[in-house]
């Protein structure tokens, strides 16, 4: 760890402790669609092929453990618990040895996803050889949790670009990502979002760095590779394309008067680093009759119908209806807006933006059904408002802004483009599902790829304090994150292992 700043090293140890806690505290198959994500990697590791062909949706060995554990009921119904009994576990261990590992590979909820995360997870699966399914699952979870460390490092580096060599602010930013319970939870179970969050964190740092420091072949190639890998991890990574294109375009513009063979080769390197993983996946998918980005294709197609049944509102799937949807998501519905959009099954709030982005982005574990009491989310709302006010105050203090040639303009545009692309894509998907009368799609954890950007706001908010008290603000944020982690892990313990 020579050369790694000591505060970062210490933070990474802390993040690793909490990451391990999330790995072992979350019950088997307790992550969102974890059964499907495991079955995907298992298909690659055991059968050497992508799922979606002949076979069961999950292999017999996995299904067997799910039956013994009461998994189906546990992940859906609040009152159901996983099996706690050592005696039942002994029966399962005998059955596990006899269960079939090779009858999976069929279609499941994750089968249409790109393969990068699962290819990586198939490595520990193969390395373990024939073992019990819990050893497979937990070792694979531990590998997945490494992305939590990657995301933390990315956030530290990003803060270094934004705030300069300001260690307290870097520490607060990185801790706000690495110690954010939802990030730790998602990385601590089998879910491609873990890799997406890690790669997004690195991409954000590399993009901001490229724009702030000026052209650099190595950084541009690394950015191309990260974005390319993210694109073969999950379709959500399409949100990285606009900021990536922006960063490359700005860099090329800056180089327009300095053309040389070395620079042309560097541009070729960026294109190659980006296109290699993406091209390989698209080509493979095409050759095997699959859709490379099934989710994006679905969203890009015309909605099947639904929406306004009265005939008095805007045309189904129209831009006007989308605008009405967006308005009703963030603001109270206006009298002339028809139809009323019912976004969520109310749990915390009927106000969608609060429920989805804040409540489920701060603490909704399991299969989006493990929550704190409602009042806790109003406390979160108060903290979020405090952070936004703090960050806004620091911006106001910086007035007058010198926008022309400001060094922060391009990096800020990069981050804004990423955040807006992600939000836009998520809303477009949700809207599509709404008009197709599908269940609500949006969850707060889908914003986690921009967690490092949001963490910058937390760090920036501490600068609203008088200079003398800023260290206390940083300390309070770190302590708050530890308490938040403990509360969330306590919630998990209580939900799954207590009555």
């Amino acid at each position: 760890m020579a050369g790694v700043p000591r505060p970062l090293t210490l933070l990474l140890v802390v993040v690793a402790i909490f990451g391990t806690a999330w790995v072992v505290f979350t019950p088997p198959w307790g992550g969102p669609d974890e059964d499907a994500h495991f079955a995907y990697a298992q298909s690659l590791g055991e059968l050497g092929r992508l799922p979606g062909g002949a076979g069961e949706s999950v292999p017999g060995q996995q299904r067997n453990s799910m039956d013994f554990l009461n998994t189906d009921a546990t992940v859906i119904f609040q009152y159901a618990k996983p099996t706690w009994s050592g005696a039942t576990e002994s029966r399962w261990r005998i059955a596990d040895r006899l269960a079939d590992r090779r009858n999976g590979g069929g279609g499941n909820a994750a089968a249409a996803y790109p393969p990068a995360y699962y290819l990586l997870e198939s490595l520990p699966y193969r390395a373990l050889g024939k073992t019990d399914v819990m050893s497979d699952l937990y070792v694979m979870r531990l590998v997945s949790a490494l992305w939590l460390l990657v995301a933390t490092v990315g956030a530290w580096l990003l803060a270094g670009e934004v705030f300069g060599r300001n260690r307290p602010l870097q520490l607060v930013t990185a801790a706000s990502v690495g110690l954010w319970p939802m990030v730790a939870f998602v990385c601590g179970v089998l879910n491609p979002d873990a890799m997406l969050i890690g790669l997004s964190s690195l991409s954000t740092w590399l993009g901001v760095s490229l724009l702030r420091r000026g052209p650099s072949a190595s950084r541009a190639i690394a950015l191309g590779l990260c974005v390319g890998l993210a694109l073969v991890t999950k379709a959500t990574a399409l949100a990285l394309l606009p900021p990536f294109a922006f960063a490359i375009a700005v860099t090329l513009w800056r180089l327009r008067r300095h053309v040389s063979l070395r620079r042309v080769l560097a541009v070729g390197g960026v294109a190659l680093a980006f296109a290699l993983p993406v091209g390989a996946w698209i080509s493979y998918a095409h050759d095997h009759g699959r859709t490379a980005y099934a989710q994006a294709t679905l969203v890009g197609s015309a909605p099947a119908g639904g929406g306004d049944a009265s005939g008095t509102g805007p045309r189904v799937g129209s831009a006007r209806q989308f605008a009405s949807y967006l308005w009703q998501f963030y603001l109270p519905k206006l009298p002339f807006q028809n139809p009323t959009i019912h976004f969520v099954d109310p749990h915390i709030s009927t106000f969608p933006a609060f429920h989805v982005w804040l409540a489920s982005g701060w603490a909704s574990f399991g299969w989006v059904n493990v929550w704190f009491g409602t009042w806790v989310y109003y406390l979160f709302l108060a903290i979020a408002i405090l952070i936004l006010v703090g960050a806004a105050l620091t911006s106001v203090r910086a007035w007058p802004w010198r926008i022309r040639r400001a060094p922060w303009l391009a990096p800020t545009t990069f981050m804004a483009l990423f955040a807006l692309s992600l939000l836009g894509g998520l809303h477009r998907t949700d809207f599509h599902m709404y008009v197709d009368k599908e269940p609500p799609f949006l969850q707060g954890r889908y914003l986690l790829p921009i967690a490092p950007i949001l963490a910058l706001l937390v760090a920036q908010a501490t600068r609203a304090l008088p200079q003398k008290w800023r260290p206390a603000g940083a300390g309070a944020v770190l302590a708050g994150l530890v308490v938040f982690q403990l509360a969330c892990l306590g919630l998990i313990l209580h939900r799954y292992y207590d009555v």
Partner: protein
């Protein structure tokens, strides 16, 4: 005051306040239920005429139990029948039993029956016998109109009336004689969490992680904060 001291004040102050709040919450949350079979009392799934018995089995008992609680009604009859509750091993060895006197009123409350001390960490059958004279209905849930194709009942055990399978499962709660706070239940929770895990994840790891989170993490993070201010 130095910036390092101010940072420590912020860190330790917030940490102390937060941990105190968590401690208070976990002391105030009290309950006597130690385990359930994960079934809600929605329908009268097991009608019991005089002499009939409903059994739910096998139930993987995690901890020792003293009482069995179940929901039973008479659907309008004034006086409930006498009932026996028996906890046995799979081979029929009686581990605990208790009785309900006749004449109880069906006012929607569950019955809690003391069955003596039954050791945990074994698979048991829990049987409820109607000793008459009135008919009784034991409540539970049935997999009708399943949500997302998932049974609302436990996949690891099933119910039988007089040896015949019934559609649903009966609701059972296992309770202790006294109430425990959440913090007192932490050892049991960690013990429950250690089941169905690979060999390298045992109770010891959970305790080590808990200790690390409560002691090592504040130390490391505090140190990281101070180092960042150098």
């Amino acid at each position: 005051m130095s910036s390092r001291r101010i940072a420590l004040i912020g860190f330790l102050g917030a940490l102390g306040a937060g941990l105190l709040a968590l401690l208070l919450a976990s002391v105030l949350m009290r309950g006597e239920i130690k385990q359930t079979d994960g079934v809600l009392p929605i329908y009268p799934v097991a009608p019991l005429t005089a002499g009939s018995t409903v059994c739910q089995e096998p139930i993987g008992l995690a901890d020792d139990l003293e009482n069995v609680r179940y929901q039973v009604g008479t659907l309008g009859k004034l006086n409930g029948p006498a009932m026996d509750v028996t906890v046995t091993t799979a081979s029929g060895v009686v581990l605990g039993e208790g009785h309900v006197a006749p004449g109880w009123k069906d006012v929607g409350n569950p019955h809690t029956v003391n069955v003596g001390h039954v050791k945990g960490d074994q698979e048991v059958s829990v049987c409820i016998r109607n000793r008459g004279p009135a008919r009784a209905y034991v409540y539970g849930d049935i997999p009708n109109g399943t949500f997302l194709g998932v049974r609302p009942t436990d996949s690891t055990s099933s119910a039988h009336v007089n040896g015949q399978d019934v559609d649903g499962d009966i609701t059972l709660w296992f309770t202790a004689n006294k109430r425990f706070s959440l913090i007192q239940r932490i050892p049991a929770m960690l013990s429950h969490a250690a089941h169905f895990r690979p060999g390298f994840v045992g109770k010891g790891l959970y305790w080590a992680l808990l200790a690390a989170m409560l002691l090592l993490v504040p130390f490391l993070l505090g140190r990281a904060l101070l180092r960042s201010l150098r």
